[in-house]
């Protein structure tokens, strides 16, 4: 694998918050190839959400090099090279499902007809046909998250950044959306970077699982997931699935830090403080 064709290339990326008081990330090297599905997993507060935001140019690294689609992360953001999905759907209450999905297209100045067509395709893709004129509060959590995924895909970004998108959903909804996400990923051909807390989810979805250590976040190891594609409901019952989960778990243990939720909250606060500057 070479760096020049990578969708995302990270070299020695580090992040300090509060003038070096908190070392969130250190020495992150990672190349993500086109079409890959990469999961970032690690103990709470290990900086995986921070890393995702550095790739998205939403916060600045304090060291290292970030290249997205062969250009700076900033240029990639300005060129709208990526779509992002958060743990909360972050839909705008005052917009209908249809208008929420077309928000990025509006900002890119696409005309009404083109927007309408694209929204129709996407509603079909995320199986929300018939809900276009509903408002977000009329939808379940899972449906809201599907709208938010459709919105991220609306302008066909080559890269999809997902920050624990299913973390707030119940187990059954989460498994269904996992399958749906894989189907969308196969059809769209985009590259995904997916932050998660769940080992099973990471193994089930990914082509590679990047395991990170407790703070300061480093990459402890990368697990190649050689489960056959496409993944199905039966994938979880394969013996290889259990083996891979054990591999990830061992790496996590090596990284140490079974940190409490406090570390996670602290990371969120640090990000918020940084963005307000």
């Amino acid at each position: 694998m070479s760096a020049d064709q990578a969708v995302v290339s990270l070299k020695g990326v580090a992040k300090e918050f509060g003038r070096g008081h908190v070392q969130a990330l250190t020495g992150i090297d990672l190349d993500v190839q086109p079409g890959e599905f990469i999961s970032l997993i690690g103990p709470s507060g290990c900086g995986k959400s921070t890393l995702l935001r550095i790739v998205g140019d939403l916060i600045q690294p304090s060291g290292g090099e970030v290249v997205v689609n062969g250009k700076s992360a900033h240029q990639a953001r300005v060129d709208r090279d990526y779509g992002i999905v958060f743990q909360d759907a972050v839909l705008f209450d005052w917009r209908t499902v249809e208008k929420n999905i077309s928000l990025p297209l509006e900002m890119m100045g696409r005309d009404r007809r083109a927007r309408g067509e694209r929204v129709r395709e996407l509603l079909e893709l995320v199986e929300l046909k018939g809900f276009e004129s509903h408002h977000p509060w009329q939808l379940s959590g899972g449906m809201q998250q599907r709208v938010s995924i459709a919105r991220a895909l609306s302008f066909d970004p080559s890269l999809l950044l997902m920050d624990e998108p299913f973390g707030a959903l119940d187990e059954m909804t989460r498994e269904r959306l996992n399958l749906e996400l894989l189907r969308i990923w196969e059809r769209s051909g985009s590259t995904v970077i997916f932050v998660t807390h769940s080992i099973a989810e990471a193994v089930f979805l990914s082509t590679r699982v990047v395991v990170m250590s407790a703070r300061p976040g480093r990459i402890v190891g990368i697990v190649d997931v050689d489960l056959p594609q496409p993944r199905t409901i039966e994938t979880r019952e394969e013996p290889r699935f259990a083996e891979l989960i054990r591999d990830v778990r061992q790496l996590l243990r090596k990284g140490g830090g079974f940190a409490a939720e406090e570390a996670e909250r602290e990371e969120e606060e640090l990000i918020a403080a940084e963005e307000n500057l």
């Binding site: 990526y82 972050v90 705008f92 209450d93 890119m108 408002h135």
Partner: protein, 269 residues
């Protein structure tokens, strides 16, 4: 329910009047009698009496006065809301401006309107503005403050994730204002508009006094005040009309809000 409260208030008023008259109760130096506490039905009946010998009915006089004051108040409201909103947007985009200006904006509201009103009338009148417009400016002075404070509050209430989302689309500040901050702040804005809608009516009535405008409700209040000892019902009837005007302004805002704001039911104020 509104009707039930009205009946209860009526009963309270008449009950107190009856109690005061039979026991000879005095409040300070005021006796409770028909002059200090006219019957509620007399106040309403007065509306349909001629305002002076062979003149139009009182309600016709007050209707014209209310329309005149309504014009002053409406212009004042629009002016105040626009200035208030503009200030709010400005302050929301700069913490430095916020720190510099907010104390003075607060101070502007601690000065009694009665102290400011004559100055506005003299100053504006000297520059050729019609008197009614001076009154609108006074009404605007009471209108802008809640709008500024709530605009500021509303625009900065936006979720951090929503801002990240907009930045991920490389949105400029105007797109963020127009597509995110403004719609998110509408419930705050309308809360402010409701306060301002009644405040601007008060501002217009008070503004008419130093402007010596005779055509509005303020002029009517001043006029009927002088004849209070003979016909107290006139002043009370004028107060009723002034209150009704405030309620009409409030209801207009409520209706506009219903049309404009589309939000989750639990968010509706």
């Amino acid at each position: 329910m509104t009707a039930a409260v009205f009946v209860a208030l009526w009963a309270l008023w008449e009950g107190f009047k009856w109690f005061g008259e039979t026991t000879g109760l005095t409040i300070g130096e005021f006796e409770v009698n028909d002059r200090t506490f006219p019957h509620v039905h007399d106040v309403f009946a007065q509306l349909f009496e001629p305002s002076r010998r062979n003149g139009p009915l009182l309600i016709e006089v007050l209707w014209d006065a209310a329309l005149f004051t309504a014009k002053e108040a409406a212009v004042g409201f629009v002016l105040g809301a626009a200035i208030g909103f503009g200030l709010g947007v400005l302050l929301a985009h700069s913490r430095l401006l916020q720190r510099g200006f907010l104390p003075y904006i607060v101070a502007s509201q601690t000065i009694p309107i009665l102290a400011v009103a004559p100055m506005v009338v003299v100053w504006m009148g000297g520059r050729g503005f019609p008197d009614w417009f001076s009154v609108s400016v006074i009404a605007a002075y009471l209108t802008f403050f809640p709008v500024t404070i709530n605009t500021l509050r509303g625009l900065t209430s936006v979720d951090a994730r929503a801002l990240e989302l907009m930045r991920s689309y490389a949105a400029n500040w105007f797109q963020i204002l127009w597509k995110l901050r403004l719609p998110a702040s509408l419930p705050y804005l309308f809360a402010a508009f409701k306060i301002s809608a009644t405040a601007c009516v008060v501002g217009a009535i008070i503004g008419e006094l130093p402007a010596s405008i005779q055509d509005g409700l303020g002029g009517a209040i001043l006029n009927f005040n002088q004849y209070y000892s003979t016909t107290p019902e006139n002043l009370w009837a004028t107060n009723l009309v002034a209150a009704a005007l405030g309620i009409v302004f409030f209801l207009v805002i409520v209706i506009v809000e219903k049309i404009v704001v589309r939000r989750a039911p639990e968010h509706v104020a």
